[in-house]
Structures are given as C-alpha cells and as structure tokens.
C-alpha cells in the first residue's frame, strides 16, 4: 500500500515562504495498492493537486471524509475528476440521524458558497454513510469509527496487503482521558498496531492548555495515544496554520524526545510511504 500526503495542514490552508517544507494545503491523503482503486482520505485543499495527478485514470475514486469541517471538504469543488463526464466517484462520510450526507455537503456545494450544485456535475457521484462495521473497497479493508472531535467525526483504519494505515487527523483523545487503557481511549481500535498512524498534533502543550475541547491534540498527546495503541510509526499531522516550518521542526524534536517505542516522523505534504505488513 502506498500512501501519499497531498495536504497535512489543519484548519486553514497556509501557503507561504515559511511553510514550504511541511506544506500549506489542508488534509488529503491518497492510498493506492496495485489494482488501480484510488482511496482519498479527506478532501481538504490538498485534493486539488491529487485530482490533477489522477486525471488520466478511469478507475472509480473513493473519497473518505472524516467530517465536514471546511478544512476537510474545501477541495471537493476543485477536484478535477468531479467534472469529468461519466467518471464514477464515491464519497463516504459520517452518518447522522438528522441530515444525510448529501444535504450536509450541499450546504457548501451550492450557491452562494459555490457556483455548481452536486446534481449538476458531469461525473457520477454517489454518497454513502460509512458503515458501522468493516467494508471492502477494491483491495482495501476499511473501518470507520467515531472519535472525539466536535460534531460527528470519524477516524479511519485502512488495511491492504498485510499493511495498515490509521488516519485520525482531527482527534482529541485527551478529552476522554489517555490513562484508561485501550477500552477507554477514543480511537484505540482504529489505530491498534498500525504500521503508520497519521494523527492530529496541532498544538504544543502550552497551546493545548488554552484550547481544551477544541477537538485537537498536542504533539505529546499524539505520542501518548500512539503508545497506547502500539503503533509502529506516527506521522504528526494537521499542523496549526500559525506554525511555520521552524516551529514544526521544534515540535517534532520534542515529540521524538518523549516517544519511547514509537518512531515519530513529520507529516509533510508531498511525501509518500510504502507500507508493508513487516513495518
């Protein structure tokens, strides 16, 4: 399984000379595994570049949305395959008993916020509630589960060819407690034993103290969560828009200092990971 980060910034895109190494586009990760099926985790502004890269492909595309905050859906309207006649697209998202996914996405993909309506697109777009149990998309076994973050929010676990990636870009497990062991740790089962975990690491400890309940983690919480879930490698993700490359280097170094059994790396835009079950 190959994972490519097209965007790892949190909250709002933050292009500029100070963010070139970690990247300024918001959440989007592409997964591919041989048979051509394309999985895209979230549709932040990074989705636009993912779409340019996919334009010659005719295989179905599956977009798995963790939630509908703008930084995770804003790229949808600028995703080239959406405008290709006959192109098959599936969008999966958190279920709700009140408004379905189409109604909620239409709040953004309709005038006056966006000039084109979903129903007027040239592609064939199917919207799905993520099932409560594992399901299969081509070679990928996907599991979605609710995690601590404001509003219905999912994390994803994707396995293929013996390798597993866990994706929890917006997650505040500390709010539910990080000392209760696996049974009482939000997101544990999604991340358990993953070869690579992409996890929210938006804040420093001092910043987190002022933003408890906002739905995000400090880098130290990301490390603690990775340790509870026994993951092999943790990529810090959903970087604060106010953190420039230098600041993020500092947070990464701190996280590496406290991570005992976890290999902590930077979730940088434009990086790819080749995942195999052996690590």
């Amino acid at each position: 399984m190959r994972a490519t980060i097209w965007g790892s910034r949190g909250s709002i895109a933050s292009a500029g000379p100070d963010t070139v190494r970690y990247g300024g586009n918001t959440s989007c990760v592409e997964l591919a595994d041989g048979d051509g099926t394309i999985l895209l985790l979230d549709a932040g502004t990074g989705l636009r570049r993912a779409g340019m890269h996919l334009r010659d492909s005719s295989v179905p595309i599956h977009i798995l949305l963790t939630h509908l905050h703008m930084d995770h859906i804003q790229g949808l309207g600028f995703f080239r395959p959406l405008f290709e006649p006959g192109r098959e697209l599936h969008v999966w998202g958190p279920p709700s008993t009140t408004l379905d996914l189409r109604a909620r996405l239409t709040r953004y993909l309709s005038p006056p916020l966006f000039p084109v309506r979903i129903r007027d697109l040239d592609s064939i777009v199917e919207l799905h509630d993520a099932p409560s149990g594992p399901w299969q998309i081509g070679p990928f076994t996907v599991t979605a589960a609710s995690v601590v973050h404001p509003g219905p929010t999912l994390g994803y676990r994707v396995s293929a060819g013996g390798a597993t990636l866990a994706y929890l870009p917006d997650h505040e497990p500390a709010l539910g407690g990080l000392a209760g062991g696996p049974a009482w740790t939000s997101g544990h089962d999604l991340a358990a034993g993953a070869d690579l975990l992409l996890h929210d690491a938006q804040y420093s400890d001092a910043e987190y103290a002022e933003r408890v309940g906002w739905g995000h983690s400090s880098a130290a919480h990301a490390v603690a969560f990775a340790e509870v879930a026994s993951v092999r490698r943790l990529a810090l993700f959903h970087h604060d828009p106010d953190h420039d490359d230098e600041r993020l280097d500092g947070l990464l170094a701190e996280a590496r200092g406290i991570g005992r059994g976890v290999d902590v790396i930077a979730g940088c835009e434009d990086t790819s990971f080749e995942l195999s079950g052996g690590g």
Binding site: T97, R157, G177, A183
Partner: protein, 141 residues
C-alpha cells in the same frame, strides 16, 4: 482490526469522563445493561468502589444491590431505568430500595437516558441516582 479489540464507543468514553467530574451520582450501562462505570458519588450509594468491581454484568449488579420496590418485592429487571432506557430507547425513572455492598439499605431514585450515536445505534444509558431518604439499615422494612 488486530490485537485486543476492547475499546468502548467514543460516546461512552466521553460520558464516563463527564460522570467522573460530576458531584451527582452517575452509573453508566452499555447496550446490554451491564454496568461499565459508576463515579465516586455513586460509590457512596452502592457501598462499593468501582475499582474493586470494575465492570459488572447486569446479573452481578442485581445480585449485589438486590433492588426492592416500595412493597419490598424484588424490582423486576425490566423496570430498572437503565434497562428501560436501552431496551425501549426512552428516558425512564424509578424509585426503589437497594442494598449497598457496605450492608446499608438505601432508598434511591434513578433517572436514565438512552445514549444513541449519531448513526442511530443504542450504545448504553446514563443513569443519574440520588438518595431520597436517609440511609436505612438492612433488615428494617
């Protein structure tokens, strides 16, 4: 999924966190009615420490606390507020006596609300308890 898959739904994790910070006695049950948590104020009513029992099956809880209705008869399981909440998906209230693990019989009232996920699944119930009369010693009617 691999390894130990024992994680509770996130809604119950947050409910436990909320309960553990409240002065109001709170009991959490899962979708089967098994006790998965009670807070320190509830420990005083049950005469039990949560850490000593950890999770309690419904049968185990009934055996220890032996709830009685106003007439002194065992309270039917299906009348327990937490059970009504998860089985019938509605709030429920009841007044009854129970026997604490400390040997003290107490008159309590309990109100339960079902915890349903955004996806529409019943995950459990949050039961708020309070004692309505002073503690009574076991054996007194």
């Amino acid at each position: 999924m691999s390894g130990v898959m024992a994680q509770r739904p996130v809604e119950l994790i947050l409910a436990r966190q909320l309960a553990s910070g409240l002065a109001v006695p709170v009991l959490l049950v899962d979708a089967q009615g098994d006790t998965i948590f009670f807070n320190e104020p509830a420990e005083l009513i049950f005469g039990l420490r949560f850490d000593d029992v950890d999770a309690l099956s419904l049968e185990g809880r009934l055996e220890i606390l032996a709830p009685l209705d106003a007439d002194g008869r065992p309270l039917a399981t299906e009348r327990l507020p937490g059970i009504v909440a998860v089985r019938e998906r509605r709030p429920a209230h009841a007044a009854f006596h129970l026997h604490g693990g400390d040997g003290v019989r107490r008159h309590v009232e309990a109100t339960a609300i079902p915890l349903e996920s955004a996806g529409g699944h019943v995950l459990g119930a949050l039961v708020v308890l309070w004692t309505t009369k002073g503690a009574e010693h076991a054996g007194h009617p």
